[in-house]
């Protein structure tokens, strides 16, 4: 993710401030994209926010302690092609459990999710119903690779609006994280 490179040489405090500022930007972008259903940007924004939240939020980072995996999220029409790679992220003096985002499909991912199209992806992300199986049953998405990794990924993804303080996602949480 390009953003990592831009902050790598700054102090820890400055890095934190830049991440917070970028998250604010992403929050606005996600809200706008969700409302307007600008689909490809919505997904990338969510993933970038996820990657930054791992750096900033210790509680959230606990979810991926020593976790390594890679995901490709794509659409059948080829308009969406994004990868999320969980790995150690080197930043200044410390190396943290983190995640990188790429706008290409990486090789040999742990799990690949293919949405029928952007609309199917948006429906999945915004439906208020995070059920992967339901999406498969409705033929809105297909999965290849380990399903359990996808279950975890969706769980992590669904925490983001709450962590960013986005209220207009249709999802309601039963408890606060």
């Amino acid at each position: 993710m390009e953003f990592f490179n831009t902050i790598r040489d700054f102090s820890k405090e400055k890095q934190k401030a830049l991440i917070e500022s970028r998250l604010q930007e992403l929050k606005t972008q996600i809200e706008t994209n969700a409302a307007g259903e600008i689909l490809d940007k919505l997904l990338y924004g969510l993933l970038e926010a996820m990657a930054l939240l791992f750096l900033l939020n210790k509680e959230y980072r606990k979810n991926i302690k020593d976790f390594t995996a890679s995901y490709v999220i794509q659409s059948e029409d080829g308009k969406i092609d994004v990868s999320a790679i969980f790995k150690k992220v080197p930043l200044l003096l410390s190396t943290l459990d983190g995640m990188d985002v790429k706008d290409i499909a990486v090789d040999n991912p742990t799990t690949t999710v293919t949405f029928r199209d952007g609309k199917a992806m948006a429906e999945f992300l915004l439906s208020g119903n995070p059920d992967v199986i339901e999406g498969m049953l409705d033929n809105q998405l297909s999965v290849s690779g380990n399903l359990n990794y996808l279950f975890k990924f969706i769980y992590l993804l669904w925490l983001i609006p709450e962590l960013l303080g986005i209220n207009n996602f249709k999802k309601q949480f039963a408890f606060q994280h």
Partner: protein
Amino acid sequence: MSAKINEVRDKLKKYSQENLSAELPLLGMLLEEHYSQTAAVDIERAKLMTEHLKQTEESGSPMAVRRAEAISHYLANREITFHDDNVLGGATTAKPLGAPLYPEFFGLSIWPELGTISTREDNPQTLEKEEADILNFEVFPYWMDRTISEEVRKEDPFRQSLLEKMIIYTISKAATISHTTPAYELVLKKGIEGILEEAKQKEAQYSDDKEKEIFYQSVQIAVQGILDYAANISKSAARKAEAETDPEQKKNLLQIARICKQVPAKPAATYHEAVNSLWICQVAVFAENSNMAINPGRLDQILYPYFIKEYEAGTLSIEEALNITGSLWFKIADNVNLVPQAAERLFGGAGAVPAITLGGVDKDGNDAVNELTYLLLKVTELLPIRDPNVNARFHPDKNSVEYRNEVSRVILTNKAIPAFFNDKENIQTLVNQGETLEHARDYAVIGCVELGSAGRDYSASSSIFMMMYTILYMALHDGKTTVTGDQPLWKATGSPDQFNTFEEFWGAYKEQTRLMAQNAVKLNNTYGKKHQELLPSPLLSAMFDGPMEKGKDLIYGGAVYNSSGVTHIAFPDVCDSLCAIKDVCFNDNNTDMQLSLADLVKAVDNNFEGQELLKAYLKNKAPKYGTQHPVALEISQKLIDLGYEVFNSQKNYRGGNYRVAYWTMTNHAGYGKVTGALPSGREASVPFSSGITPVSQIDTQLTDSLNAVAGLNSEHTPGAYALNMKYSPVQCSEENAERFGSIVQTYMNKGGQQVQFNIQDYETLKQAKADPESNPHLLVRVSGYSAYFKSLNAAMQDELITRSQYNLSSGKFVPLSS
């Protein structure tokens, strides 16, 4: 009928649903509490088992031993709870109504829902934040690469990916080990200590045979967990009794403490001990196998010696027996399955479907109905609850008309339970499957409707779900499916314009069925092999006929019989579709409607858009299963024969048969909602018909409908079927019970295997859907199991509402007014 049976029946007459709280206050109170409970996810087993398996990861011990240790660890360390005044000790989970989570199967599927499962729209299941965190941080990460499905994916990624397409086939081994009936009578007679001693001796005897030695070791480890669990219940009850100020409750707790100190460790001596012993064993089995269709079995036979001895000695009153038995009913109903949101759509509202079987004949072929049969029927009448799934066997030549009418009266009273099973047909079909006559006569119903010799057949009776819609779609589209791209999935069998006769098209349908069956069996057997590797079942093996003698775990074929089951979704709709194809596309004598198969397929694929006349003809004029139309009779039998032909010749991973069945749980509604139109005139997204039940709202008389089903060759449906009938409510008079029973008997005499009823009219069900709280405990038969109407999804509710309703007196079809 013996004088003693009449005496018991007379004593039972005073109890009714109306006076339950007055005459049996304990059961009245337990019923109220049961109705007030909401399901909660139970993570205790997942946590303790995972904890132990992590610790032994590097131990080098065989999997059978590690798993036995983990089961034992859980049983010995689980929380003991007493939520109410139930007279039995032991509970499936620590929650009043628990949904145990099995991480080795499909438990991780609720990971995305950890934050929402408590508040989701359909059947929420409570999960505390702390519990969600334990799952998220401790339990689920361990299982990510170890679940049974992921292990199978490593072996056969292609067929596993087809399973995940959801509409090709379903293999239930991803979620459970088996559906079966343990031989609990072994424990009642020998006690767990007796079984433990036997295993010890056998281990010494086979010290030169490593496999057997490990098996007997694992049995000892696993059953020790049962002993520890029962001892803990006893101690907890005694401790709680000390602090209890209510004299009645104190007495009850002391009684539980005494009983659980005695059983299941030792042989049962009293009815109360026998019932509690059986219940603790059932709970223990849930520690090993998931809580799906593990069946208590023929309770009126297993518990009879204990009941009659005490009843005759005057140490057990009818009231006490009702309280003990009713307590068992509530215990059996203390758990549901944990299901992700989508599974709610497919299996929504189901309990754990533990089947109890009553009546029928004994091993020698004589009338097995006894005093306890009537007592258990009375409990079924008094307690209209979802589980247990009570089934009444009836042998038209051996059982009395009084018994038949009593079962009918109970159904008319509680409007849903029990289901009727025909001993004549079912015993014969099991004999045809290789069971001895004696063993076949001792069959118990498994889960929804399946059949198996009790305690001898380690049946995985719900192994494969065949999607008949998809098979027909493939036959109509040159082998392609809606979810696997532009190429034929298995084989191209011809496009619609290539078939010149119905027989040619039937050939394509047959071929696609054969290929689907072959591939589904292959995947199921891979799952079976993985179960052998990872999920040995020493605890259940100790409570079964065969494994202890052979020194072989059930999962390796230790049982006397080793069947697997294959059920079919959408049989009636596909049958009607084949009838329509024959009638409209390949019938020169049809002067009302003729078109090519290619044109018909085009209309179907467009969901009959702009083809109203065609749709109306297909719906109302084409031959229909459930009538006496010769085309429908011929094709329904052909389909049944085909299912049998393609599966009966195949062997499962334990060397047993695949038994073909036709029951659908809630799947027919869920899958109907996500599939396209059919040549029968059924539009897209409409629920399929349930089980083997003719499609709803066909204008046919009751007798025609019953005869159409009864005429099917039951030797070719050895896994049985669910026939759902709906009658307009009538007064529960002797006359109506007689009429009801005689219709059932006529159906059985003509060859019907099973039938179950809803005594409801369209309006009541419509009202219950519109205002769920107006009738919150409305109990209905779905397709093999019972459910509270309000807990079913909208598709299933609609399917129940539109099911054809018949007038019991006239036998006439009552059409649904719009």
